[in-house]
């Protein structure tokens, strides 16, 4: 099975995000960057599919600046076989990201594309679904359990009403939820080995994609802030305060 897995470079989830002083965006200079946590789960799942006995080639894909090579090397150190970086210097919105993945999925003859359900920077939660539409393939979003048999996949999806089980024909697009697995810890020897694995770079123009109409972001601002309230002495005072606020 050929598995493409998305790896987006994002600000680490433990960093307190700051807006640039001129309000033009979010500060990324000197900020710790990591693999989008949901994509890390996608990489782990690809590895487990192979370890579960389905012979697989795992190709990690990122879209972004040269710096995203770092995150692709993380995926390679986890166990991906090779990586492709589609270079883009400006922001790539989900529809164009989906068009890029669509091209790659066809070029690579992928059987499965595994993506995080959303990136923790733009929180769009769109790319997997858009890819599935453009590719004309099934989608299983918010997946927390994935099994294969007879050229089909069964995906258990975390939906608001509970857990939904669907069956999809392959090729398919699967997006990962938090409960799907716990990504492995990367060991030092694997980081050294990953440096020798192939990492190809492509330009968006190489893929022949015409850019889509885009959303224009005109302002970045902090949310209405929360300020510290007050401390109470004991439980009766706490109960009184809650009643006072009308929540009890």
């Amino acid at each position: 099975m050929k598995i493409l897995v998305g790896v987006k470079r994002v600000i680490d989830y433990n960093v307190r995000v700051q807006i640039k002083k001129d309000g033009s965006g979010v500060e990324t200079a000197g900020v710790k960057m990591s693999v989008n946590p949901f994509d890390e789960i996608a990489v782990e799942e690809a590895l487990r599919i192979r370890e579960g006995g389905i012979d697989s080639e795992i190709v990690a894909v990122s879209i972004g600046t040269k710096d995203a090579q770092q995150q692709l090397r993380t995926a390679l150190a986890m166990g991906a076989d090779r990586a492709i970086l589609v270079e883009a210097d400006s922001e790539v919105q989900p529809l164009d990201a989906a068009k890029i993945f669509h091209k790659l999925a066809e070029e690579e003859n992928a059987d499965l594309v595994l993506l995080g359900k959303q990136a923790i920077d733009d929180d769009a939660n769109q790319t997997g679904q858009m890819l599935a539409a453009l590719w004309g393939r099934p989608q299983a979003t918010f997946t927390s359990e994935l099994n294969f048999a007879d050229g089909k996949a069964k995906a258990l999806r975390e939906v608001d009403a509970g857990l939904e089980l669907i069956e999809v024909d392959l090729p398919a697009v699967v997006t990962t939820d938090l409960r799907l697995n716990e990504p492995r810890f990367v060991k030092m020897p694997d980081i050294m080995k990953a440096k020798r694995k192939p990492l190809d770079t492509k330009a968006m123009a190489d893929l022949g994609i015409s850019a889509s109409a885009k959303l224009e972001t005109t302002a970045f601002e902090p949310p209405a802030g929360r300020t510290a309230g007050s401390k109470v002495e004991d439980v009766p005072a706490l109960i009184a305060a809650l009643k006072d606020k009308g929540v009890l």
């Binding site: 923790i120 608001d160 959303l215 005109t218 109470v232 809650l242």
Partner: protein, 309 residues
Amino acid sequence: MSQVLVIAEHLNGQLNNSTAKAVNCAAQIGDVHVAVFSDSPAAVAEQAAQIDGVSKVLSVENVANSNALAATLAPQIAALSDGYSHLLMPSTTFGKDVLPRVAALLDRPQISDIMEVIDAQTFKRPIYAGNVITTVKAPEGLVVGTVRTASFKAAGTGGSAAVDAATVSADLPSHTRFVELQAAASERPDLQSAERVVSGGRGVGSEENFKVIYSLADKLGAAAGASRAAVDAGFCPNDMQVGQTGKIIAPGLYIAAGISGAIQHITGIKDAGVIVAINKDPDAPIFEVADIGLVADLFEALPEIEKHL
């Protein structure tokens, strides 16, 4: 005049409350139609017709619509959206699953999690789990977006819109099949939509000790949550995790017990109405965002709160 199409969310013949929230957002943009896709849409269409601000309900009956599968719904919604200026769905797992698939079929960018309408083309939406609010402008043409349900109150009822049967012609794929829905097993309310949530952190100490959290939650009719630290320590399952990579919630009352307040946890609760922090450590960062703080041992405080309820 903008003409907005809202796609209704429903299950077992009941219209989901998220639809009325999306209608409230839509009504700030223009005239609102609601479309109901189902194998037997009559009951749901009737409920949708009663939402204030809806001028027409389009009822699309098709046996293929017996379960809400994105692959099946998307081509039908794309076909039905012709002639509308805006296409909206609630930002629930239903809307998040279906709408991007529609947007791609129509070659339109999507605005996720609309939290405020500035004008017909311009909206506010959160990024970085609500730590930054952006203003985004949609390009000319059909505007496609999901509506953040925590940001809009449900529109009232009392309307009586006409219900029209609509037919759409679209090729429906057979590559995706519904197998079953396993309804949430917990008797506690769903963490994401609960009005009250009681969460425990590493300070709870063990899986066994978590019963103090469950007990108070049950007394309050609340959902139970946990910090990433508590989940990582194995005290409770992953699906209870509140935070940037867990669930982002906005209950009216949030009680955090034995939670220090890591950034990523705060990110998951910052839209809560009232945040209560109970922690032995008076310097815990959670106190910086809590509306009410109590410096106390949670094993003494939580049972005492129960007694006072």
